[in-house]
Structure formats: structure tokens, C-alpha cells
Subunit: 385 residues, 2 copies
């Protein structure tokens, strides 16, 4: 286990002890990766990392994936439990029953077990199977315990995100370059993937946790539409929300392109939105609260008669599908978390109107001196005549 | 609502009635798409489709995604509920509380509510919030009710899968063509994505539910590793497990490539595995049971001294990350489901050995005459000298 992994585990155990948690069951693939390095597209069947108050961590996964765990982690064979394939997607049994029996046999669980109650790949059926198999344990919600430990990045993690930032600059440029009247949306996405996967400066790119999102025309009124094979049309806008990904660390970036001469409502919204984004970035400093950034944005756009209901950003970093966000801090009213050096956020100001829209974003790193943006991409509405 | 959507809803309600379910809450994005056409990368926050015994279906999602629901479905505005952004990823409230209150206000839930207890995007925390907000309801496990309705495809659905099959033939050819000693894995993946996304015959490709899986060298001992930027090496095998995707319908395909002169254990395993796959395909006919196909495979490979613990296939079709499998039928001992015309399976025979491996697969459609394979890709181990 590397020194960085040992330090992460120490910080997780400190939080466990403070909350009276004897055993932590980690299901989020990003949290599993953070603690052990495990990497593979195996999260579609149950898997997890089990952290006790001391001793070794255990990892469980489907038997066929145990070899992948041996290859991508420094765990010993004895720390990797592979459940039999006969437990996969059956009506009369669940893999967590097998796992619970194995943990019991090893005496690996304490009286209070915390589970990630809102992780994507820990289902209510899995939870029921675990509780039925460990009837004497007390179960509590881990409440994103590991996610919060991830909130402050090490210099090595920030460096991964800087690499991801260089990748997404290329992906965004490739996408914008490809978008033109008559070009199919899927062909622009092919250009984006090419840059995203080939990477930059000799370093390859990983798959981002979200595919390229590319609402176009009336679709720009909403954020999460993906591509079709219809052509881009003159007189329409397209929003690109992409990320570069390096060693599972993300740097997202959103920009908006208009084909032809943009309407005034769009150019004015783009200018006001940029001003608001920059006001929020200028508010970044250690000790500022998450909600302070949103307030700076809100004041700035209000001067232009604009408002926005939804949050303007979230903590970002390590991730697996379906999300590169970390589910901890949000830039919105009521989030009083204080910024610390090493935190990283995706600040995204999406303005979704009635039938049209505009998006702009920056991924930034909190430093003693303020916000370090991880990309240097122009912030203007891109106009292609 | 199209005739096909109406028919799907009718079949879902038949099963609901047979099981005494008044209200079905659908969380699986593939099931949501199947019933309404909804399509967007919004499943990282809670969403669902609510089906009552009669009347209109309702769809709930985050407020910013409601416009996407209007654009991709034929639901009326009144059938789409957008929860406020202030409910997203908060410690003191959950979107399902808002949804439950809204359903209650509309009188939209009956006494017995079925939920998808093993769907990826329905978390234990969501379930707890729902139960606390609807204390008088009885909750039962929907047990993949909609997934089972999806098991038999309409001619239109099979046609989508045939298109996906033509796409994956191109993606596989592009990947095999790119793999060579010294070429980086990520560059082969870029070639695969290019074919997958640009599509075939003027029809573009969607994002498959799983990224290209590409274990290479010692990594071929396990199935679900993705790529790095390390180069392919002479004297090593690479497994490609890919899918084409068209309108969210998948056609997966796996093949194995060897660079140089393959060892005898690999060529012999490849030949025996192909023979076993073809024996299983020959057993396909309406009325045959899922386990019969596996038995045909098992008998065939046993003659070569081989055995395999894990299932050799599963029902496939519509899907969103993280899985293109439908979580219903598996080709394995004990699955006595009888094949019907219109069912579609991915039969994948992965042989994961100690430090090496081999994979081969076919996606097939059950017809009156037997298995119709949806791709026509050669089944040999690909040897590139």
C-alpha cells in the first residue's frame, strides 16, 4: 500500500472513530478506487471495500473480477473475496449474503456498520440482504464519509486534474472545430472522443464518468441531452459539456457555440453570465464559504435582470459513471462549508430559458491566493459565421 | 403516446394486476425509456416513472431536466414533475420526499406500491425517504417486472439491434486493425470510438452502456479492465468486448487478438471454445430452456477437458450505463426460462485462466428457425504476425 493510500485510510478511520463506526462498507467505485486503487468496469454487479477500525482492508467482487483486483491494487490475495457467479442476478439469493457470511467467518465486522446509503451501486435489495445476514449489527448511514475525505486533494491529485484539464482543452477545441451547418452531431462527438481518448503530450485519456453532452437548437433549454445523428443547423446554438479524464480524475468544461449571427438575448446573456462567473471566481479564497461564491454570482447577474434557481457548482475530482461530481459541497445558498486549499470545484453556470440556453464553466483549484483555473479556454460565446 | 408504447404499458399493467400492484415506481433508465421514450444523462439524480393501474403515467426528474423530458417523450407538461434544485444532494432532505408529497396531492398512489429494489439509481436513502413520506402504503419489490416485459422484442426493436450489429462489426474491425506492437491502447480505443459513434450506412451510433473493454497481456485473465496508454506488445493477447448502440439498443461482441505466434494452449482453447459456442447456438429454438444452451456448451467443452464456472450469456437489448444486460434470463444451470421468438441474448464465453484468457461472443435473436446472429464477424482467434 502506498504512503498516499495509507494516509487516506488513516483519515477515513479518524472519521469512523469520531462517529463510533466499527466497520465501513464502501460501495461507491470512486471511493473504492481512492482507498485501494481498484479500477475496472465491474460495478454493475455488487462489490465493495470493507474498512475496519484497524487491520487490513478487504475488497469483495464477483469471482471473475478478483484477478482484476489483484492486478490494479496492492491487496494480497487473502484480502480479495470473489463471490461465486451463481449469486449473480438471481431471485432466491444475493451476493451480499455470501459476502456477509464470509465477513462473519473472518470476524471482520464490528457491532456498528456504516453503509453508503446513497451510492449508486448499493441497492435496497443489497442492503436488505446484508441486514438479514448480519442480524446483530447496527447499521448507520456513512453519509458520504469517504467523499468528504476526498474533498481536499493532494498535490499529486491536483496534478492529475491539471492533465485532465489539458485534455479537455483539446476535446473542446476539437468539438467546436467540428461543429458546422450540415455536420452530423455524431461526427462532432467522434472528434471529441478522439481528443479525449488519445490525450495530450503523450499521456492518454481515460473515459470520463459522463459522455459528451451536446444539446443543440431547442435542446439548449435543458442540460443533459446527448447527441443524435441529425445535422447542426445554421441559426442555432449548441452547448458542449465535456471532461478530460486522467487516472479517473476529471476536469469538466462547458462552452456554447452559435452557428451564424447570434440573437441579442444570447449575446447579452453570455456577457452577463461570464461577468457573474468571474465575480464568483474572484470570491474564491480559503475561508470563504461555498454559499459566498454563489452570492457573488447572484449579485452580479441580478444587475442584468437575471436569476438562476439551481446550484452553480460542486466538488469534482475522482469519478466513475454516472457522475464526476463528489456529492459533498455545492455552490448554493445554505452551504456554509469553508473553502480550503486543495479543494477543487466545477463551477458551471447554465442558463436554461424557454426554448434556448447558454452554458459556461470553469474547473478550479482553491489555493492560498484564490482560484487556479485548470483550463485556459476563452470564455466567450463561440460564434461561427 | 405511440401504439408501441401503449402496448408496452398494457403488458406492464397486466403483470401489475396479476401481482396486486396498484402503483409501480420505475427507476431503471432503460425501463423509463421503454415506457416513455425519455432519454438524457440525468440518472445521476433521482428520477422515475410512476405507473398506476389506469390513467396517465407520470415522470419525475430534477427541475432542470423536465424540459428534456418534454422534448424526448410525448408526455404532457402535467405528467412531468420537476423537483426543485434545492433537494439535490442535501443532508436534511431528499427529492423523493418532494415527489411523494406531489404524488399524494394528486392522489396518484394506491395502497400497494412496487419499487425496483435492485435498480442502480434507486438508493436505500431514496427508498427510506419514500417510505417515510408514504407511511400508509405497502411496499413490495417489483422484481424486474418491466425488464421481463422487455425480454421479448418487437420487430422494430430487433431492427434497432440489427443496426447496432452492423455498427459493432465496424468497431471491432477498427479495433483489430489498430492493434499492433508499439501502438498505445488508447489509440486503438480512439479508432473503436470513431466507428461506434459515426455509425454505419448513414446512421449514427449512440454511446454504449459500457465503454470498450480491452484487457491485454496478463490482463486477459479477467474480463472488465479498460484501457491505459501503455503500448500493445508482441507475444501478447488482447480481448475486445465492445457493443454497437442504436437508439439505446445494443449489440455486444467479443473477440480476441494475438500479436505474433500464439501459444498452443491459446489456439486449442480458442478452437474448443468456438466449438462450444456453436453447439450452444445450435441448441437455440423456441421452447428450449436457457439452461439447455449452457448444457450444450458444457458438454462440448468437457470433451476438450475444459470447464467454466460462470454463466455464458444473458438477455440483452435496451440499456444505459453501467450495463447492457437486462437482468432477467441467464444462460446457466437452473434457469428454466423457455426461449420465445423475439428474445435476444448476448452469449459470451470467457475463458479466464491463470495469467491468460480468451473471449468469444455472439448476440442472437431467437426465431422460429433457431438463432439469428446479429453480426457476421469471423469467430477465429485473430492472429496478427
Amino acid at each position: 500500500m502506498t504512503a498516499e493510500h495509507e494516509d487516506r485510510l488513516r483519515r477515513v478511520r479518524e472519521r469512523m472513530a469520531a462517529r463510533g463506526i466499527d466497520t465501513l462498507l464502501v460501495s461507491d467505485p470512486a471511493n473504492m478506487h481512492y482507498l485501494t486503487g481498484y479500477d475496472g468496469w465491474s460495478f454493475y454487479t455488487p462489490q465493495g471495500v470493507v474498512v475496519g477500525a484497524d487491520g487490513e482492508v478487504l475488497l469483495f467482487t464477483r469471482h471473475m473480477d478478483a484477478a482484476g483486483a489483484r492486478m490494479t491494487t496492492s491487496l494480497d490475495d487473502g484480502q480479495i473475496l470473489g463471490f461465486p457467479d451463481s449469486y449473480v442476478q438471481q431471485r432466491d439469493r444475493h451476493p451480499l449474503e455470501w459476502v456477509a457470511a464470509e465477513l462473519g467467518r473472518r470476524g471482520a465486522t464490528g457491532p456498528t456498520i456504516a453503509v453508503e446509503m446513497d451510492a449508486y451501486y448499493f441497492s435496497p435489495r443489497a442492503y436488505d440482504a446484508l441486514r438479514a445476514s448480519l442480524p446483530d449489527a447496527r447499521f448507520v448511514d456513512a453519509e458520504e464519509l469517504v467523499n468528504w475525505v476526498r474533498a481536499v486533494k493532494s498535490p499529486a491529485e491536483v496534478e492529475h486534474m491539471r492533465t485532465a484539464g489539458r485534455i479537455v482543452e483539446r476535446s473542446m477545441a476539437a468539438g467546436i472545430d467540428a461543429i458546422a451547418p450540415g455536420v452530423r452531431q455524431c461526427d462532432a462527438v467522434a472528434a471529441i472522443y478522439d481528443a479525449t481518448v488519445r490525450g495530450v503530450d503523450g499521456t492518454g485519456g481515460d473515459y470520463p464518468a459522463i459522455v459528451p453532452m451536446l444539446p443543440t437548437g431547442p435542446g439548449t433549454a435543458t442540460p443533459h441531452l446527448t447527441w443524435t445523428d441529425a445535422p447542426f443547423r445554421s441559426g442555432e446554438a449548441t452547448i458542449l459539456e465535456l471532461a478530460g479524464c486522467h487516472r479517473r480524475y476529471h476536469c469538466p468544461l462547458a462552452r456554447t457555440v452559435f452557428l451564424g449571427r447570434p440573437p441579442r438575448r444570447l449575446t447579452e446573456t453570455a456577457a452577463a453570465t461570464r461577468e457573474g462567473l468571474e465575480a464568483a471566481l474572484a470570491a474564491v479564497r480559503p475561508g470563504a464559504r461555498c454559499e459566498d461564491l454563489e452570492a457573488a454570482w447572484r449579485r452580479s447577474i441580478a444587475a442584468h435582470g437575471l436569476e438562476k434557481e439551481s446550484r452553480i457548482g460542486y466538488s469534482v475530482g475522482l469519478g466513475y459513471p454516472p457522475d464526476w461530481g463528489e456529492h459533498t459541497m455545492s455552490l448554493r445558498p445554505g452551504d456554509t462549508t469553508e473553502l480550503e486549499p486543495g479543494m477543487t470545484f466545477h463551477m458551471i453556470v447554465g442558463m436554461w430559458m424557454d426554448g434556448w440556453g447558454f452554458e459556461l464553466s470553469e474547473t478550479f483549484h482553491v489555493t492560498a491566493g484564490g482560484a487556479e483555473c485548470l483550463t485556459g479556454f476563452p470564455r466567450e460565446l463561440v460564434v461561427k459565421e
